[in-house]
Amino acid sequence: MTDATRLAELRQKFGRVPEGPSDPKPGTVSPREAQPRFRGLESGHRACQGCGEALAARLVMECAGPDVIVANATGCLEVFTTAWPQSAWRVPWVHSLFENAAAVASGIEAAMKARGKNTKVLAFGGDGATYDIGFQSLSGMLERYHNVLYVCYDNEAYMNTGIQRSSSTPHAATTTTSPAGKERMGKRHLKKDLVSIIAAHHIPYAASASVAFPQDLQRKVRYAMGIEGPTFLVIHSPCPLGWKHDSRLTIDVARKAVECGLFPMVELERGSLSNVMPIRQVRPVTDYLELQGRFRHLFADDPRAEEERAHLQALADYNITTYGLTGGDPDNADTVGTAAVGRGGHPAGRLRP
Amino acid sequence: MHGRGGQGSVAAAYLLAATAFEAGWQCQAFPSFGAERRGAPVTAFVRVDQTQIHLRSQIRTPDVLIVQDDTLLQDERITAGLKSGGAMLVNTARDGGEIGAHFGCRCVNIDATELAITHLRRPIPNTGLLAALVTLEGRFALTALEKAVSGRFNGTILEQNLALIADAAAAVSAGAWAEEMSDA
């Protein structure tokens, strides 16, 4: 018996009998079908309006698919894309648990290797799944050198369960478990410097990206996809609900996070800083903070608020100094350059009549 | 089989079981694993039979005791449960008869450590002890032991072990314990 006939037999036994082509008019291609990009994540998912994570995932899938398998940690992305009986994924996708996406991806990759296939494996997790509960299995995956791109959608709190603080929540941000009050000014601790920890595994490539800079993000995904070995990308993905900003401001907020220095855009190869996205016009952190309800208490008439604003500014300044975010090669993609648009669109999806 | 952690009691038990297997017998060898580390007294068990062995209890009333290290004789309880008429094989330069008299059982001694140092340049008494046991007991041909050993070693080490087996076998009286073993 061949593998193929065995598979057909099992599909007959357990699976759904194919219902024929879903396209009612064979031969016609709907405009949606004809999009000049790979649609790994389809419409009809149930993300909130203006969801940064949904956007980030779609951007990643565009340049990662179609020959990929995705292992997705429990979290918003998993929940809003796969409410049975409808899935928004157009790639093979598996969700197991909150804390094991990296390990599941390891297993998929091992299976691909065992079967001599080149299909790339992606692991997706939020900051809870990555910075916190799944940190161990991620570390194991990196150490074992699995050929997996791990993408962390960083929205800086446990959003799936309703905005609880994570180790990625920025200092002084309020969440339901780090509220501000008479005794507290939001989260007391700092945001974990995950990229440095990841890079310390001496893996080929670890980088940060932001939904506000899609071309840069996709360049990083393509680069990571081309590497044989473990790679890591953390994508700053605003959550309008959790950060308490208007849904239309998702990109604006993300952009300002980068431009004020609080979310440095860095690339590390084998543990060493290899590239940064320079900031041409550094903004004060307040430009970023004032857009978000989670920092509203920092604008109260309160000396503690002023101190915390100064603290966050100092953290941003630290990033700018540490990573050299204001200098660098003028030819590099920078926050201005990568946000620029031109007539006729991005090179990848260029469309001209 | 009494030994100390790190001396290879379990390996010896397995080797004895393998010898029985090579001789066409049913066998069962298992350790009494504890959390003990290197140096602590440990015990391993071997059952042999001509029919299938179902019993999986620890052996409380052995026919034969093998003591890998004579310092273990300081514990008077070492012969507890030894069947009446049972025998003890001790790795020691001391006289087996005296030891047997002390514990009230038959006892044969063999300086397996010395033999091992001579042949293997290392103080591993297992092969010598088993060769002595097989010879004393006479149930399994010495070739079964040689075969079992061949399954574990090769090259120089195998040759050294085979030479050791011959020397150890020569050091004891063949078949001395044969009649006692029939009901094992």
Partner: protein, 390 residues
């Protein structure tokens, strides 16, 4: 070919015969030798598999989950705490209905810390939805392991092969390992109907609302029920191909006219069998060996106890506050019989307490004692307890 092999080594060799694509495991006593032997086979080139040395049992289970989801043949092994660390994943694997084989080298669960055998670990995950098969000997463990790879494919349910830690895993005994080509021939090619495949993308492990959840659980239960037949068929097929069976769903031996029965799982059976042969004077008894704990062969069990007045169920696990796990389940199942036997349930050998041959006699004696408790930790020495706790 028959060889004298340590149980763990035999399992490793059996797994290798099944040629898994991916093996992931994390060492834990008493499963360690299985992992070590597999590693050695890989190192020597006797097993071509992706051997993933994970950083925890949790990841071990997760790795094989991922591998299985792609349609790869995957294997892992664990014990005790490792089983519990895996627990979340085990439920997940079963809920996703993935084909997978795992050995559990049964061991007590801490605290108190015990490295020795009992069944607390696999019992703790009995509701995870895995098939759980118990081996009484290393030969059965080997044969069940090979069968498990076939069962899991036929059912798309994961299979846990339980074998007693140390008592089996660390015991050397003669083992007949099937021929590699024969196993290759007997096992169907590995395939999984819902494999993760870029050519045919689908989503596994989705969110399910109350609109579908009960149906899915029912479907799982139904699949487990249907697996009963598969377990038997596979054992029959194995028997006809390799000349021996591994125990079907359950086996019955002893005096068919006996009014007293003893039911047990795992290595205890061997000791009871020896005791039954040895202590003929203790009276006739029927010995029932339950191999398939999940799915639970209710119908087969009802037939097996037909005619018994008393059934003594041996547990190697306890559900504190209730009693024996197996005993409670047997009682529940037999309560639906027309004439259920009186059921006594005794926990034996917890935490590695040696079970002597004489236990057979003691059990039968207890079975005849009208004042005997319905449940006891049979080998507990009450003198070691404070009077209030006896």
């Amino acid at each position: 070919m028959r060889e004298a092999l340590e149980g763990s080594q035999a399992i490793a060799r059996a797994v290798a015969l099944c040629e898994p694509d991916v093996v992931a495991a994390y060492p834990i006593t008493p499963q360690t030798h299985i992992v070590e032997n597999l590693s050695e086979l890989v190192a020597q080139g006797d097993l071509h598999t992706e051997f993933v040395s994970v950083e925890s049992e949790f990841s071990a289970a997760s790795v094989v989950l991922g591998a299985a989801a792609t349609g790869a043949r995957a294997y892992t092994a664990t014990a005790s705490q490792g089983t519990l660390l895996m627990a979340e994943v085990l439920f997940n694997i079963a809920g996703m209905r993935l084909p997978l084989v795992m050995t559990v080298a049964n061991r007590a669960v801490s605290a108190p810390l015990s490295i020795w055998n009992d069944h607390a670990d696999s019992m703790a995950v009995r509701d995870s939805g895995w098939i759980q098969l118990h081996a009484t000997s290393n030969q059965e463990a080997v044969d069940t392991t090979i069968q498990a790879f076939r069962i899991t494919q036929e059912t798309e349910l994961p299979v846990m092969v339980c074998m007693d830690g140390f008592i089996l895993t660390h015991t050397m005994e003669p083992i007949d390992l099937p021929d590699r080509m024969a196993v290759r021939d007997w096992l169907p090619p590995m395939a999984f109907s819902r494999s993760l495949d870029p050519e045919r993308p689908l989503s596994l492990g989705m969110l399910v609302s109350p609109d579908y959840f009960p149906e899915i659980r029912h479907s799982h239960h139904a699949a487990m029920q249907q697996a009963l037949a598969v377990i038997e068929e596979v054992d029959t097929s194995f028997h006809s191909r390799f000349g021996r069976a591994a125990g079907g769903l359950l086996t019955v031996e002893g005096d068919p006219e006996a009014k007293v029965g003893i039911l047990a799982m795992g290595s205890t059976v061997g000791t009871l069998r020896a005791g039954m042969a040895h202590y003929v004077e203790a009276g006739p008894a029927r010995l029932i060996t339950l191999r398939s704990f999940r799915p639970f062969p209710a119908e087969a069990l009802r037939e097996a106890v037909e005619g018994l007045d008393c059934l003594i169920v041996i547990d190697r696990a306890i559900s504190p506050g209730l009693g024996g796990v197996l005993g409670t389940e047997v009682a529940a199942v037999l309560s639906q019989s027309a004439r259920p036997p009186h059921i006594l349930n005794h926990a034996l050998g917890l935490g590695g307490r040696d079970i002597p041959e004489t236990v057979y006699v003691d059990l039968l004696d207890a079975g005849r004692d009208p004042d005997a408790p319905r449940f006891s930790v049979f080998d507990a020495d009450m003198t070691k307890l404070a009077p209030e706790d006896r």
